[in-house]
Amino acid sequence: MAAFSSPNSDRLPTEGCAHWAAFAAQHHLPEPARMAMDHALAEHLQNIVSHSGASRVEILFQSAPKAVLAVVSDDGRAFDPTAAPEVDTTIPIADRPIGGLGIHMMRRLCDRLTYQRLGDTNRLELAKAFDAG
């Protein structure tokens, strides 16, 4: 397990993903799981920076034999990414709304996203399973 706490700033996605990379290397996680969580985490942290108004963010990484978990807590405005509308990827490019791609990618890259509002804190769990090898 590893924890990382930071004030909310433009550097949050870069720093959060650097901590993730160090954790993934330390635990010898397979490349597809590393990359998927790296991308999903970057999207979520960028959303926090851009939209939440949070002052502080905490990230916890946990590794199990066949899965990895990132838990991100922030004290920003309540926002449940799991409740965001699905993006319809079949609509032609000229007609499609451009927003919502970050959450769409988080959903596709992770196996499970779980949101809770606990007091004045947003808590999102991002889970990625992999084949232990």
Binding site: D10, P13, T14, M35, D38, H39, A42, E43, Q46, V49, S50, V87, T89, T90, P92, I93, A94, I98, G99, L101, G102, H104, M105, R108, L109
Partner: protein, 101 residues
């Protein structure tokens, strides 16, 4: 996060770094707007060195792909790695914005 720009006539190619994150996407938008205002008719976004493309980067590519197309001009992505192909595939845009080789 540096972006390299190569221009020839009214064609321009942007060569993007390995990680196209939020700040790099913002920089790309500034540079694309600059060459569009300068009269570019063809813009290529070269992702051969990239292995990470965030949604902000995709948004920039899509937004200006549409604008250029509506003016009878071209903005396409070139040189995608397997990682970038996978991300573009997830969005459903891959076949529409990647240059056909």
């Amino acid at each position: 996060m540096s972006i390299t720009r190569q221009s020839k006539g009214d064609e321009c190619e942007f060569i993007l770094p390995a990680r196209v994150d939020g700040p790099t996407a913002n920089q790309l938008e500034i540079e694309v707007l600059e060459v569009m205002r300068g009269g570019a008719r063809t813009i290529l976004i070269n992702l051969a060195a990239a292995n990470f493309l965030c949604s902000a980067g995709i948004r920039v590519i899509l937004q200006y792909h549409r604008q250029m197309k509506s003016q009878g001009k071209v903005l396409l992505v070139s040189g995608t790695s397997p990682e970038i192909d996978q991300v573009l595939e997830l969005t459903g845009f891959r076949d529409q914005i990647v240059e056909k080789r």
